[in-house]
């Protein structure tokens, strides 16, 4: 046979053609699987301890009632029906829904506006502004509430003085009607930077040549933003709506702190989490509080998932 080296033709590789389900895991795969389990076990243990167990315990406790006389006894869904019939609780739920319904779109719009500016480079000193906008993320919510409390203080706050100077006398940022709008402003202050950075990173990952193609097609800038960039960062926006919704529904710290600057507006059922806190901790009604927390969790999940679907569908209709 001539010793000629054949040009490497397509190599035929034989593989055992066992159907996936019936394939027995080799010793190698099993050993590998054990190692993988070992890596995730530490997290799973603590996770179960800290999250799963308390959750289970809360659900369990919510089915019981403790009375002064008679001790603890199984009460089934009594706690739940009490929660569901509580006007105060639902008032709180409506309130945070209104809060989130205004705060989230406004904040996302502002964040997207600046993220686009940074991505396109159409304003000067972009990196400096990005760094500044991110500062509130490093501020604990308690501290920002305290700071804003000072600024909005009805008697001494500079922003109040500002309104007086412009002609609105006896203006109170923290009055009953303006408390939610004020908290919306605070929340926008706290969260816009974070959302902006995420959107900015998403915008930057749009491939450059797609935009260049649009430029060669003489697409005006607004169309590039609205019809190309915006749809391409849809996953990021959806995720942000999701995360922000979960946060908004759990409004607690800002009203609690602002209450110290203007008494009387924030009741102890003002938001669902405040309600849970006062019920379970302040009043010591743990089981009722647990039931409330479970109901809130269900509402949060429902609304978050709904917000995912809603956003997804709306954006889909170009």
């Amino acid at each position: 046979m001539s010793e000629t080296a054949l040009r490497p033709a397509a190599r035929v590789v034989t593989r055992p053609s066992t159907p996936r389900k019936r394939r027995r895991r080799s010793a190698y795969a099993r050993r590998q699987g054990r190692a993988g389990l070992a890596f995730v076990t530490p997290f799973m243990i603590i996770f179960t301890l800290i999250m799963i167990a308390p959750l289970g315990y809360a659900v369990y406790q919510s089915l019981y009632t403790t009375k002064l006389i008679g001790g603890t006894s199984f009460s089934g869904f009594a706690n739940y029906s009490a929660v569901l019939q509580s006007g105060d609780f639902w008032g709180g739920v409506i309130r945070v829904i209104i809060f989130g319904g205004i705060q989230i779109p406004v904040m996302l719009a502002i964040a997207f506006f600046f993220a686009t500016i940074f991505d396109l480079g159409v304003a000067r000193w972009g990196p400096l502004f990005r760094a500044i906008y991110f500062i509130p993320f490093a501020v604990p919510i308690v501290v920002s509430s305290v700071m804003w409390g000072f600024l909005l203080d009805p008697a001494y706050g500079p922003f109040n003085h500002l309104m007086n100077a412009v002609g609105f006398h006896n203006f109170n940022w923290l009055s009953g009607n303006l408390m939610i709008p004020s908290i919306i402003i605070i929340a926008i202050w706290e969260w816009t930077g974070y959302n902006c950075i995420i959107l900015y990173t998403a915008l930057k990952s749009v491939p450059r040549d797609v935009i260049e193609a649009a430029i060669l097609d003489d697409t005006p800038l607004w169309r590039i933003i609205v019809r190309i960039k915006l749809p391409m960062v849809r996953p990021a926006i959806i995720m942000l709506v999701f995360i922000n919704t979960i946060g908004a529904m759990q409004l607690f710290i800002e009203p609690t702190i602002l209450n110290n600057y203007q008494a009387g507006v924030v009741t102890n059922t003002w938001t669902p989490v405040i309600d849970i806190y006062s019920t379970a901790i302040s009043n010591g009604q743990y089981q009722l509080g647990a039931a409330m927390a479970v109901v809130l969790a269900v509402i949060v999940v429902a609304i978050s998932v709904a917000s995912l679907g809603f956003r997804g569908r709306r954006r889909g209709q170009q």
Partner: protein
Amino acid sequence: MSAISMEKLSKVYSSGVSALAGLDLEVRDGEFVVLVGPSGCGKTTTLRMVAGLESITSGTVRFGDLVVNDVSPRQRDVAMVFQNYALYPHLTVAENIGFALINKKVPKPDRERRVRSAAAALGLIDLLGRKPGQLSGGQRQRVAMGRAIVREPSVFLMDEPLSNLDAKLRVRMRSEVLRVHKAIGAATLYVTHDQVEAMTMGDRVAVLHDGELQQYATPRELYDRPANLFVAEFIGSPEMNLYEATVTDDELLLGSQRLSLGPARTLLAPYRGRTVIAGIRPEHLELVGGAGAGQAGMATLVADVRVVEELGDEAHVFFAIDATAAGASMLVAAAGDAEAGMLAGATHNGVAQINSRSAVRRGQQVTFRVDTGRMHFFDPDTSVAVPQMPG
């Protein structure tokens, strides 16, 4: 007046890197010009400067009589097919193709008609409702072309549009691209690193290297009369064989062997007594039998066979002679040249392309007839080709 003309076009990036150093090039109306060269040679930079996507450091670009240096890419009436196609992923094929027409405020019925005819020309009618994510590479490439042709531009630019396709598809798409070009008739500038694409598609081909133009001619010119060592090595597959040779009165000394020069004698008169770089294409070496079959008066080369690659009708014989190999050992691997993947341990310094009926084996000693009339010579210092006889 040419459709596109470039004068002393240069590009230096703000980081100091010089991508293009003074290019002079012109493309006639309806011509298909290929810019070819290895990565980093400046071909894509040139294309982007013509498009207006890259700023021009110095020099001018003209469309016809008009200097377009300061004209925005939006107004240049240029359509471009990108290497990665740059399709809008969230729009359907029809919307992708029609996108530019919406910008031009073309009324809906006209828009749909033009989109349909562009889609029909490229065999995309059945795919109009799909999104790019649901298409194969070849289909996406055609959508990218459709998007460009629907605009009926005066200048067509293509940035390596076929390099992301697999080899067989690439060969098929070559004729597709040319067919579309003929139908549109616009001047086209086509960038590739594949010299086979350049040779088979271009009306004229510009070879670039390190930001400088090496030669701008028809494919035949490039093949028959390469202007310098780089072009000689870059064009043609397998690569041209290059050796250091010494010139005597009427013979060429290649290692220990002498080749009678024949008509090439007069060409090399200035180099008598000196070294020159001699090149011979693999296809110009003819097998004339085993060792010792050399006949007096012919130009023959005796060589040791190291490796033989069978390709069916042809075979590539890798051999070694005792001459010194010359030329840049630049691997034109990017051209998909199979020989670039050399087998380890086979120390050869030449390739011959022969008819595979002649049974040649590794370890044999063979004799090749050399057609000295078709040899190429290059100055060893400047790498410029020694001028050949006309005709």
